[in-house]
């Protein structure tokens, strides 16, 4: 009997916790799930082009939101290409030209490796809490799972997406689906995630799908996380321009 009471109390506590969360709590929980002190991951980006699909494998080292280093492993043409993000600057190194080139200005709007993601998308890693004012629009059941619908309005100038609408799973506290809008209110991109797993105590998706809604006939880009390690020790030297040429 005591066991049953404890179970019911715990269950009601869990349910109550979700429903009583404020918008700020939800957005912070999402940021906590998606961001970490550091992470090292190996992933595959499957770019579904209009003609064929390509798989690009890479290894990433990320510290906080300001430092990231990516090395492309395959296909052969991309292998050895490296990218370094330091705060608001982005450099790329290509072994074919042996040049380190800073990507800036309108180049940041270009696609990363032909995917539906732009360099700007890569650069905007800051927590949503800092960038957007959020309001809850309601709840909805998707595939039998309860989701909040959250509307986010930019509170910082110069963002790529001035409005977002996110469908947040109430258990995972992850934006399972997002619509990203431009200043004019035009839908620019959509993203979804699935394959949610518990990794080092947090829920994390193993697959993201990005779709550039402005690309005609685009089938989107899949980003599959093969392995990920949170809060890993990464030496500072990893995030130096000298590392690009090595």
């Amino acid at each position: 009997m005591i066991k049953i009471v404890i179970f019911l109390l715990s269950f009601s506590f869990l349910l109550g916790q979700s429903d009583e969360m404020t918008v700020q709590d939800i957005i912070k929980a999402m940021d906590d799930n998606l961001n970490a002190k550091s992470r090292v991951l190996t992933s595959k980006m499957i770019v579904h082009g209009r003609r064929a699909s390509r798989t690009i494998e890479s290894r990433n080292w990320v510290v906080g939101i300001d430092q990231a280093f990516t090395e492309y492993l395959s296909p052969p043409r991309e292998a050895g290409t490296k990218m370094l993000k330091l705060y608001d600057k982005l450099w790329t190194y290509s072994p074919q030209t042996d040049r380190v080139i800073q990507i800036s200005g309108h180049m940041l709007r270009q696609s990363v490796m032909g995917s539906d993601m732009s360099y700007n998308d890569m650069m905007e890693d800051r927590p949503l809490e800092e960038l957007y004012e959020a309001t809850l629009e309601g709840s909805v059941l998707i595939d039998g799972r309860d989701h909040w619908i959250m509307h986010l309005e930019a509170k910082v100038k110069g963002l790529s997406y001035s409005k977002r609408r996110a469908w947040i799973d109430k258990e995972y506290l992850l934006p399972m689906k997002e619509e990203l809008y431009g200043k004019s209110g035009k839908l620019l991109k959509t993203s979804t995630m699935d394959g949610i797993k518990k990794v080092q105590g947090r829920w994390f998706p193993s697959r993201f799908i990005f779709k550039d809604e402005l690309k005609r006939n685009s089938k989107g880009t899949e980003w599959r996380i093969d392995d990920i390690e949170f809060d890993a020790e990464i030496p500072k030297s990893r995030f130096s321009k000298a590392k690009l040429r090595k």
């Binding site: 770019v47 082009g49 209009r50 003609r51 064929a52 390509r54 690009i56 043409r77 991309e78 290409t81 790329t92 290509s94 074919q96 030209t97 042996d98 040049r99 380190v100 080139i101 800073q102 180049m107 270009q110 696609s111 990363v112 490796m113 032909g114 005609r216 006939n217």
Partner: protein
């Protein structure tokens, strides 16, 4: 009879010099104007064909729809085979693959850091194939300002304006930053081996020319091309033939449900060239036509005047017993001879002048430079063009109008009565 009449014409200067001069000048002017307008038209069409449109060109349906964005992910694949097939099916044209792409040119300093950067519109052209006529039709040897033509895949020519803007000269290395045909980021080093000036207004402002093999390496476009351009072997654009060819090709090869299916376009289908083709043909036809009519009226009038001037002579010949028909026929025969001589001299003069303008041209660079930008590619120098029709077009006004004028004037011969003739002779 002709010999007799010719002697008469030559001996009587009043019957030969002025009429022959008038016919000569009229014919020479008609030929020159026709040659000059044809030259301007063909020069404009050829410049446009060389730089972007071809006389006809083949691309995928998807590429055609988005051509303004240079969508190389919708490029033609298996280009070598396509070029061979086009060559076999349409031997009156030669075919050349082309890759058009945009990007940034990044100039490194001595440490490999960016020193200068600027946008570029690059063309990957088949310069290096043994049978390629691209260097000839681009007139690159004439247009090269500095350096030499590319000999390898990684060599590039820059327009003088782009080179000046980036502070580049021959021998320096420049990095292209662009997108592959899979839209992936790409960088590729080219060595600048020379600079060129097209003299086509603003077209070459940001232009880089590389061999197609270099473009393929840079953009990961193995055996692919944005378009395949076709040119008539004579380099003369025949709009009717091009439109018919486009219709035949698309009927057999193009599938409207498949965005990767090839589609052919004629020169008139691109860059507002259709309006230009129609406008130029109509304007040229109208101007030459008006001039032709004026010349015919002048020559006709000359025939009339000549007939009236010889009123007394005709009367004398009739009085001496020549029949009216004989007199009439001899006058017509004379006008044929005058018209023929004048036309031959006029044609020779007109052709000479046209040929001179074909070689030297009329330079109006300053006027073109003042144009900000235009989609229509126009040469800074107008050249005339000697075409086969120039060899015979002068005979229409030169002989026909002169003869018609004489025929009209000669009708008076039949109205004259014998009794009246003798009266006239007495006075």
């Amino acid at each position: 009879m002709i010999k007799f009449l010719t002697k008469g014409i030559i001996r009587d200067r009043s019957r030969s010099l002025f009429p022959v001069l008038v016919v000569t000048l009229a014919v020479a002017m008609i030929i020159f104007f026709q040659g000059f307008f044809t030259g301007i038209m063909n020069s404009m069409f050829l410049d446009s064909a060389v730089v972007s449109t071809g006389h006809v060109k083949v691309m995928t349906r998807g590429y055609k729809e988005e051509s303004q964005l240079l969508p190389n992910d919708l490029a033609l694949l298996g280009t070598d085979q396509l070029v061979n097939e086009l060559g076999q099916d349409y031997p009156d044209l030669f075919w050349s693959p082309r890759i058009t792409f945009g990007g940034l040119l990044d100039v490194p300093d001595e440490n490999g850091e960016t020193q200068a950067q600027g946008p570029v519109l690059a063309l990957g052209i088949d310069f290096l194939s043994p049978k390629s006529r691209q260097i000839e039709i681009w007139k690159l040897e004439r247009r090269l300002i500095d350096g030499r033509l590319p000999e390898n895949a990684n060599e590039a020519l820059l327009s003088t304006r782009l080179a000046g803007q980036l502070g580049l000269s021959s021998g320096e290395t420049v990095t292209l930053i662009g997108s592959t045909m899979y839209n992936a980021f790409t960088t590729f080093n080219f060595t600048v081996v020379g600079t060129f000036k097209l003299n086509l207004g603003p077209v070459d402002r940001q232009m880089m020319l590389v061999d197609i093999t270099g473009a393929r390496l840079a953009l990961d476009m193995e055996n692919a091309s944005s378009e395949i351009l076709g040119y008539t072997n004579s380099l003369y654009y025949d709009d009717t033939a091009a439109v018919a060819l486009r219709g035949r090709y698309n009927k057999i090869n193009s599938d409207s449900t498949d965005i990767f299916s090839p589609i052919m376009m004629a020169l008139r289908d691109t860059n507002q060239m259709g309006t230009m083709v129609d406008y130029m043909s109509a304007a040229s036809g109208l101007i030459v036509g008006v001039f032709l009519v004026i010349s015919m009226i002048v020559l006709w009038n000359m025939g009339l005047m000549n007939g009236l001037r010889r009123y007394g002579e005709i009367g004398m010949r009739l009085a001496m017993g020549e029949s009216k028909g004989q007199v009439y026929r001899s006058m017509i025969m004379e006008s044929v001879v005058i018209g023929f001589i004048g036309t031959i001299i006029g044609t020779a003069m007109g052709l000479g002048l046209t040929y001179y303008m074909q070689e030297v041209g009329l330079d109006y660079s300053d006027a073109m430079e003042s144009l900000g930008s235009t989609e229509i590619i126009m040469s800074n120098v107008f050249y005339a063009q000697v075409t086969p029709e120039l060899y015979y077009i002068g005979f229409i006004p030169g002989v026909l109008a002169t003869v018609l004028g004489t025929m009209l004037a000669g009708r008076a011969i039949y109205k004259r009565e014998m009794a009246q003739l003798f009266k006239e002779l007495e006075t």
